[in-house]
Amino acid sequence: MTNADQNLNYISGKTGDWEIVIGLEIHAQVLSSSKLFSGASTEFGKDPNHNVSLVDAAMPGMLPVINQTCIKQAIKSGIALNAEINKYSVFDRKNYFYADLPQGYQISQYKYPIVGEGSLKITDANGEDKVIGIERIHLEQDAGKSLHDQHPNKSFIDLNRTGVALMEIVSKPDLSSPEEAASYVKKIRTVLRYIETCDGNMEQGSLRADCNVSVRKPNGDLGTRCEIKNLNSIKFISQAIQYEAERQVEILESGGVIDQETRLFDTSTGETRSMRSKEDAHDYRYFPDPDLLPLELSDSQISEIRSDMPELPDQLVERLISEYGITKYDANVVVEEKEYVHYYENSAKNRDGKLVVNWMTSELFGLLKKNNIQFNQNPISPNYLNELVELIENKTISGKIAKDVFEIMFATSKSPKMIVKEKGLEQVTDDRTIEVFVDQVINENKDKLKEYLSGKDKLFGFFVGQVMKVSQGKANPGLVNQILKSKLK
């Protein structure tokens, strides 16, 4: 990276530029039907305390048994993030008291996580690739939920989420701006959704992030960091980082020092505020959980998962570029969601890939957004988009007519061929017919013809417009041009 690139990310303060240093801990809920150490369901939205087993409620004598599906999911995620899979990992107990933590400890992985170092490619502010280091991924249990607003002087506990498997994906402090952090989270989410190890549903809390933020003079020593806890939207992540970095710059520039602390982001004010200082930090008394043996994986177990990996977003981008000749930007847009890719590849079959991607990302996405419709509720099937582009390619309709057809397709889910036929929208490519239109226009605009012939060349456009109008937009614009030119000599 060049210095010029970095500058885009700097905060300019009174004393000069400041560089932001960001590391993220993403908590991604593992996609699995049952919890990490119990058979209870992970289904979202059930009545409180519906998905709770004896193990989750930490009844006396209950023991955790590892859910092999969750192990596979973690390995899969590790492979997707180019990470080392550790054949030996250990589950530890992280001890602390809270009412929604029935065991009095969270089973997590501390010294020996299941996944080691990896990396993820994101796009930086200049549109260039930037590789972000992954420190580790470990598996851990989620806690339950405390409800403080159900009763004036009682708190309620919901253990449905207790024991659900989370992957904690820890990045290296390689991120330099709120935008990069957002792009990183987006990319992680995309990757996990691709390989189906996390549904990435941030509103339901399936993906949350803790952000470690510090600032320093460009290339200076690392500053003291603050951790902003539990952010559950990409927007909040960038807002919180921006606010926090500016807050730190302000303190440092006015001669203060940053206290290492845990902070909370207030979504209503857009500010972060102190939750607890380093001195008040818990001593979690980590130690290996004696109820669980160390997790040992065999080479064959790992290679089996590796050989079964679906195509990953980065690979897909490359393939879409080479196979369909689209731009990297477009490829990245399509790859953002697995369903987009599926849709794109189906609608681009035997068609001009660039044309299809334009229709998809501008027209289709535009209409969906305007009408507030989710992509999976999309009324236009990929076959019909393919058909529409075919009609454009073989000049049955012009691009302009195609937009009208597209809107009808969007409203009715009808086939474009049918719409064109019913409405008689086929492009007129017959010279004679066009000549008739041209003659009519010339006859009706004698005065304009005079002006044109006397040198007002600009009026050519007027004639084209009139011919198109007379033909109800169906005349092939190329032919109209050609015939007009010969007639107006």
Binding site: M59, P60, G61, V65, N95, F97, Q103, R285, P290, D291
Partner: protein, 487 residues
């Protein structure tokens, strides 16, 4: 039949099969015995109605010739085992009125084979103690010289006392650092701690997960084999349970021990060990020699580190295992003005002193800054102790040691906790190594109190261990009965 209490499990099974008496009669006799021995304070809860109902089923099965492995055998269950629908407290106030909706795997295995539950037996609170004095409902009195009010040992004090007092035909126990073997020795009965992983821990209130192991307390070695047969087995619900095959423990009993090598560890001769106990050890060595075993003196120099290691590892695990007793979901709750205050009130009143002490020790040794010096180091030494046993078992087949440095002491006599902890000095090493151990009575000491001898074996060699024990048992021919026993 005159006195049904005199029969062992083996004898009772054969007599029940011959219809010499019914299960109902047997169970009624035991219910009666429990009533008669009430002053010994052994049972925390009884379930006589359920037991009599079960007896009907058993009698029907005998009638139809469908009897199961332990059909109609009335047992007592240590209160550490969760029993469905029956209050389970681990002898702690914090679990007062806790009624599990589930049955521990080990007890379920017993009931599945026709055994009958008479009730729940007292123990040290959360199995933390060696004298049964930390039980919330008060100490159990050893039936030997009961008027002297001696300890039955602990933590399975209620279990050992009940078997000795004939208030149960056999009982379940749990052993974390000697909690089956030491009370068995103090009460003159047989106590077997199987290899770690042999019996499922599922449904047993956890004390120290890496050490806890269930086992039987019985009148004799053959009964221990029968009980273990049913209690053992792989349980997918316990990740640390072993999937090794469970051999037939009973069939090989009485096999010759000619040529087997018995190691006598030098280190198990701590100061203050009574001459009676040393004498019992010598007697045992002679029995073994007479039966053709080879006696080999061996050294286990790391033994001296066992107690310190144990008193770091066990409290560390306990401090975490007992965090769940927080007043939020079950058991006792003492309200407060905040969540923290509720925790403090509940745990302050719910736990006894010994439990609190161990939680504090455990919390301390796991704390950041102390972890490496205590917990991590203790785990390393534990591994060395395990290795030492593995090495020694390349030279000898079994080890013979005293079970305890003393016989049963008087209740309330140990003011000094360290002295109390030292009582486990001979039993703790096997717990740390995970190897099986059995204690059986050899003789009475000068105070007419039973003296126990411990045999230790290789991982999963309970079969051989029981066989050696059987040989010693036959030679020792210990037939005395405590004066506090029901008759």
């Amino acid at each position: 039949m005159s006195n049904l209490l005199q029969f062992s499990i083996c004898e009772a099974l054969s007599l029940l099969e011959k219809k010499e008496f019914s299960t109902k009669e047997l169970v009624e006799t035991y219910i009666n015995a429990i009533e008669k021995t009430k002053d010994l304070n052994m049972y925390l809860t009884t379930c006589f109605d359920q037991a009599l109902e079960q007896a009907k089923v058993s009698d029907q099965n005998y009638l139809n010739g469908n009897q199961r492995f332990l059909e109609g055998i009335p047992l007592g269950v240590k209160d550490m085992f969760c029993t469905k629908g029956i209050e389970t407290t681990a002898s702690s106030k914090i679990l007062k009125k806790f009624i599990p909706t589930y049955e521990s795997t080990v007890t379920q295995n017993l009931w599945k084979e026709g055994a009958i539950n008479l009730g729940k037996l007292s123990c040290d609170e959360f199995a933390m103690g060696s004298s049964n004095e930390t039980a919330a409902k008060g100490e159990v009195i050893n039936p030997w010289n009961f008027e002297e009010k001696r300890t039955p040992g602990g933590s399975s004090g209620g279990s050992a006392a009940a078997v000795a007092a004939k208030a149960a035909l056999a009982a379940t126990g749990t052993d974390t650092g000697g909690s089956i073997r030491q009370p068995a020795a103090f009460c003159g009965v047989v106590g077997l701690k199987p290899t770690y992983g042999r019996c499922s821990r599922w449904g047993i209130v956890a004390f120290a997960s890496s050490l806890d192991q269930a086992g039987p307390i019985t009148r004799n070695v053959s009964d221990a084999a029968l009980m273990l047969q049913v209690m053992s087995g792989y349980d997918p619900k316990d990740s640390t349970s072993s999937n090794k095959d469970v051999p037939n423990f009973y069939n090989d009993l009485g096999k010759s021990i000619k040529g087997i090598k018995i190691g006598i560890p030098e280190e198990y001769n701590s100061d203050g060990i009574s001459s009676d106990i040393l004498n019992a050890k010598d007697m045992t060595i002679n029995f073994l020699k007479e039966n053709g075993a080879e006696i080999i003196p061996v050294k286990l120099p790391l033994t001296k580190y066992s107690l310190p290691v144990y008193y770091i590892v066990a409290p560390a695990e306990a401090s975490s295992n007992l965090a769940r007793y927080d007043g939020v979901r079950y058991g006792a709750r003492i309200d407060g003005n905040s969540l923290d205050e509720m925790y403090e009130n509940t745990r302050n009143l719910g736990f006894g002193d010994e439990v609190k002490r161990r939680i504090m020790i455990g919390t301390y040794v796991l704390s950041s800054g102390y972890y490496d010096a205590y917990y991590l180091k203790a785990q390393k030494v534990r591994r060395l102790i395990k290795n030492e046993f593995t090495e020694i078992f390349k030279q000898v087949d079994y080890l013979v040691t005293p079970t305890t440095p003393t016989t049963a002491f008087k209740l309330g006599s140990t003011q000094d906790l360290l002295t109390m902890y030292l009582n486990d000095v001979f039993t703790v090493p096997a717990s740390l190594a995970g190897i099986p151990g059995i204690s059986l009575p050899i003789k009475l000491d000068k105070n007419k109190l039973p003296v126990g001898i411990q045999i230790l074996g290789k991982d999963f060699d309970e079969q051989g261990l029981l066989n050696v024990a059987k040989v010693i048992e036959t030679c020792a021919s210990f037939k005395d009965t405590p004066n506090g026993a029901a008759s």
